[in-house]
């Protein structure tokens, strides 16, 4: 929360670095033993994670059922593709709309709550959506889900690019991710971004300052659902299928862990770091042992016990200790006294 006079940058240094890495990825991925597909997965989950952290890290609302909205986005895109023959944009718009609608509905039940009641309600809601997706065979294909969602063609007017190629799909996702990052950065550095944090810090006081807290919570929840929907739609596009498992509590838990390990509690970039760490763990650990998820879970527990501020928080402390003010720590929501009292 750096308040300086004059406008804070729309595209700060870290974001530029991120964009460079993001857009150059396919060129150097192979040389570090990675591949385009994982790049797509990471980018999609970063979209999901950034939207999710809006809710958890910034507003302080722990949702353990967010997989439902990822799933609804996926099913939305899949059904649009299968039944309406939708292309890329229509499909994604439907995915976002469906997920947002579901989130808005759920938010009506949730927005007057916080803390543990909120968390348990999200579990219940998530479970209900998961259950419905398994049982409503005619719509969702039951346990098997929707299949044969072929990669579409991206129609750019003058030309058409097949997204069957992972590189092409990667760039589409990367562009969308860049847009999401710019949007969210702007949003979270606006007065609204400060206000949602007051809800995390002291909801009662926020009320006494005149804020209609329930409405703000509703808005944030719906927004985070929208981002999950976008990620879900892209997910379905990439995997060429949609299935109930992504709505399970197990899967919903993954995004929570990713975001927090990365440092979602203290930094805008927490989810980015967290998603990357997760997929590295999956691929690197996964090649050594089948039980990698167990180790990741233990890592998460260790983080909660020893370093709840995650990687971003640790980085923050380390750079401060070794470099003083230089290089600047990743955008921490919480400024330190040293940084501020210059």
């Amino acid at each position: 929360m750096l308040t300086a006079k004059g406008k804070a940058s729309l595209v700060p240094r870290q974001m530029l670095v991120f964009f460079v890495i993001l857009f150059s990825f396919p060129f150097w991925s192979q040389s570090v033993g990675l591949y385009d597909y994982i790049g797509i997965e990471i980018a999609i989950w970063i979209i999901y994670g950034l939207g999710y952290n809006l809710l958890l890290g910034y507003t302080g609302l722990p949702s353990f059922g967010h997989g439902a909205f990822l799933g609804i986005g996926a099913y939305g895109y899949g059904l649009a593709h299968l039944n309406l023959g939708s292309g890329v944009w229509t499909g994604l718009i439907i995915a976002i709309a469906a997920a947002s609608a579901a989130a808005a509905l759920a938010a009506c039940l949730l927005s007057h709550r916080r803390g543990i009641y909120f968390a348990l309600l999200t579990i219940a809601i998530g479970q209900i959506f998961w259950f419905v997706s398994i049982k409503w065979h005619s719509l969702t294909g039951g346990e098997d889900g929707l299949l044969n969602i072929l990669r579409p063609e991206l129609n750019l007017g003058v030309t058409s690019i097949s997204l069957k190629s992972n590189v092409a799909l990667y760039y589409l996702v990367a562009i969308l991710l860049a847009v999401v990052v710019l949007l969210l950065w702007r949003f979270l550095h606006s007065p609204f971004g400060s206000v949602i944090q007051t809800i995390r810090m002291n909801e009662t006081r926020a009320r006494f300052l005149g804020y209609r807290v329930w409405l703000i919570k509703w808005t944030v929840f719906t927004l985070s659902g929208a981002f999950a929907g976008l990620a879900g739609g892209l997910f379905c596009m990439t995997q060429e299928s949609a299935y109930p498992d992504i709505m399970s509590l197990h899967a919903s838990g993954l995004i929570v862990m990713m975001v927090l390990v990365g440092g979602g509690f203290v930094s805008f970039w927490g989810p980015v770091i967290g998603v990357v760490v997760f997929f590295m763990a999956r691929d690197l650990l996964g090649s050594i042992t089948e039980t990698w998820l167990l180790w990741y879970g233990l890592l998460f527990m260790a983080v909660m016990v020893f370093e709840p501020e995650g990687v971003a928080g640790m980085w923050d402390r380390l750079t401060r200790r070794f470099f003083g003010q230089f290089p600047p720590a990743p955008d921490t929501k919480r400024s330190t006294q040293e940084e501020l009292s210059t």
């Binding site: 609204f192 971004g193 006081r205 926020a206 006494f208 919480r334 006294q337």
Partner: protein
Amino acid sequence: MSFFVAENLHKRFGSQVVLEDISLAFEAGGVSGIMGPNGAGKSTCFNVLTGLYRPERGRVLFDGEDITGLAPSEISRKGISRSFQVMTLFDEFSALDNIMVALPAVRSGLGRAFWEMRADSALADQAEAVLAQVGLGGRERVLASALPYGERRALEIGVTLASEPRIVFLDEPTQGMGSDGRTLLVDLVQKLRTTYTLVIIEHNMQFLFQLADRISVIHWGQVIAEGTPSELNENEWVRSSELGKV
């Protein structure tokens, strides 16, 4: 009709009656005091007046309008602002940010504010002015949690003032302050009384007597005495009670 009126407030917690038929009136432009020993009901009264609790019976009227039972956010928007005894600052924010989120320009401009960048000069200027008003000029960028106690109290009052209220309720502002702090606070209130209507709840009689135009004494859930400081000095009960010990 007085500026702020409480009529026949009755408040119960479970089976315990805490406020019994309390009526109060505060005039615009003055400093009013609410005094009483701890556990007397003055905190509950305060909380009912400012919308934290809903009374079982009775009404609260502000500038002629019935505000009984309104949600805290609505009460705030009517121009009623309160400070908190157990300080509820946003610890992870700087002093400046604490003030900024209290500004009406931020509060009412939330929709538009989606797009404005927070570090908008005009907002920062307004917030700086408020900080200067409570003596925290130059401390803008310090984290609220890093401020010493006295400055936190000042910030608390600053946040209360930032929303440009029409009436300001201060909840035990001298709590935990040494005599230096109290002197500063007295000065501050004297400065503020020209712009705001203040209602101060306190158990420090000396402080209140210095500042208030009128004081209501609450004990056993009722208003047992009321008047100007000099009138109350004549009051037998007040003189002989614990409160009288200056």
